[in-house]
Symmetry: C2
Subunit: 338 residues, 2 copies
């Protein structure tokens, strides 16, 4: 089977011009005269030439491509981060390869392998919930490979992280519930191997402590925070005495819990007030609308990718451990109105 794609050599032969000159012309090098460039451009168009990026990348050892690994692209937060990344990348002339780990470490490992074997110039990653071991990432990081963690940080070694201030936001969310009058506040918590969920829990605890609210471990319900988990958690708190407020570490679980509780004739926020986390679009339109934490998602994408491009351009930064902390904000809606 003959391959009929057009190469610079076809152009070269057709015009009797060396392929090196053709290559330079197509890259608009000033080592080629205007006249020959013209000829080459025309012939290239005529033959339907299309550069083979694989060959180019192989030769130059530069792909102008970065990889992004997120748990799920369908999560609004992540697709917004990706939008921010793509905007920055576009300006910098980089392509972006988007991958989803689906919260599986195995998949994550394979994705990293694939990205690296395709020689992306750098990787932005928000690790999966299952990820507890960072070897698959740190090996490459050690080689000075540009790698940046966002949203879900990795602090086991020197890394660059772009995160939001989960502790502060969670503190504020909980404080808001307290000021509103809640006395028995439960917390829907996520996997504690993710620092992010540790921080959200800490913020919650800190607020209780500040206001001298008695705390019991039974108030913390740790799940994967999926839709089904919200229902399970809702059932849990109904068993507990007097829970009148819930700070959920994400919106998804809060929303399904609210739905369930409403069906059980629990009044939101009168009986139980809710604050979620993430500001999923759905939160604004459910009934009652969900108070939540808005994260600077788009900005996070821009910041993380800008840092990555800096590292790519200037390798020395790659070894520097820096953490950028972005500030989220509390949005008060009906689920926690007075």
């Amino acid at each position: 089977m003959k391959n009929n794609t057009v190469t610079i050599h076809d152009i070269s032969k057709a015009l009797g011009i060396d392929s090196s000159t053709v290559s330079r012309a197509l890259n608009n090098s000033d080592r080629v005269s205007k006249k020959t460039k013209e000829k080459i451009f025309n012939k290239a168009a005529e033959l339907g030439y299309q550069r083979n990026s694989l060959a180019s990348k192989l030769r130059t050892n530069r792909t102008n491509t970065i990889g992004v690994i997120v748990p799920r692209i369908s999560r609004h937060f992540f697709s917004s981060v990706i939008a921010g990344i793509e905007e920055t990348a576009y300006k910098a002339g980089f392509d972006v390869i988007i991958c989803q780990s689906l919260e599986s470490v195995d998949r994550e490992k394979k994705l990293v392998e694939t990205l690296l074997s395709n020689r992306v110039d750098g990787i932005l990653i928000s690790i999966s919930m299952e990820t507890t071991n960072y070897e698959h990432l740190n090996n490459y990081k050690k080689n000075g490979y540009p790698l940046i963690f966002f949203d879900r940080p990795c602090n086991v070694s020197e890394n660059t992280n772009v995160i939001i201030d989960d502790f502060k936001a969670s503190f504020e969310a909980t404080e808001h519930l307290i000021k509103r009058g809640c006395k028995h506040i439960a917390h829907f918590s996520g996997p504690q191997n993710l620092e992010l969920y540790q921080n959200r829990k800490s913020g919650y605890l800190k607020a209780l402590q500040k206001y001298d609210i008695p705390f019991s471990e039974t108030l913390v319900i740790e799940t994967q925070l999926m839709q089904q988990d919200g229902i399970t958690a809702a059932k849990e708190i109904l068993k507990l005495p007097k829970v009148d407020g819930v700070f959920s570490a994400n919106d998804t679980a809060a929303i399904s819990a609210i739905q369930y509780l409403k069906n059980q004739d629990v009044k939101i926020p009168e009986d139980i007030a809710f604050v979620g986390f993430s500001n999923e679009p759905i939160s604004a339109v459910i009934e009652p609308s969900l108070s939540t934490i808005n994260q600077p998602d788009f900005e996070m994408g821009k910041v993380a990718s800008s840092l990555l491009f800096e590292q790519i351009k200037n390798k020395k930064y790659a070894s520097e451990n820096q953490t950028k902390i972005l500030t989220p904000s509390l949005i008060i809606r009906n689920s926690s109105k007075f």
Copy 2:
């Protein structure tokens, strides 16, 4: 700047074995003895060898990668289709490059260029709302390049399309409104350059016709069906006399319209009943929950990618024009309850 990545030649030198043998060993060819394979595997692991896919792809002229272009990954429908595609691709040993056109033709064109220059083995595309001209796609299709349209079909020439039966679903949705008692049904319509929106409108018209419901062009409000468009459309129908039902060509516009109308003290469904299209997750949880058309999204991804892999394996299929039609279903919820 020296490049310190490990190649098969490093392994070759370290062991005194020819690089061709190393390559064959790493590909588990049976032309290499077990003993040497062992040695090579060990050395590869020791040196931290990682295949350079670029070189491999260049040489073999096979990338085992397909490209997917969708308008937006954040749309639930598309991320579900992608999930279906990825599942099939994974089984077939293919990688998937996900791209979003953001409904811009220019971006779409660039994405196609990039995918082709990276020599993906085939492309799955759901065209942007702006796309009216298919040259950027048909040129490649003519070369026998495997290309499949899904959801938003392209019938200007011989193409393979995977679509849902928009006409039938829209007919049923409208019929449902009629049977429910609606007499003045408006239609939120999308860009008519997309066949999909033509079909949805046709189904709506057909239903009106079947039940002898008088029709006026003012009842059809054509927009981009974004959130803001829903509000605009809602204002429109308030100006019309007696509109008591709306069939919206997507959920997004329906939802924002409902929100707006509720604020204007219009009762849904008592005053105006609504049926949307797409079954976005949000539709199930808003108040009232939105009746809508559920699309077999995941299945669509599986079907489209299976077809593509067939075309890739067996080029002769590529020239065959076939259209697969999947059947959606009406979900009746509170926004159109009796």
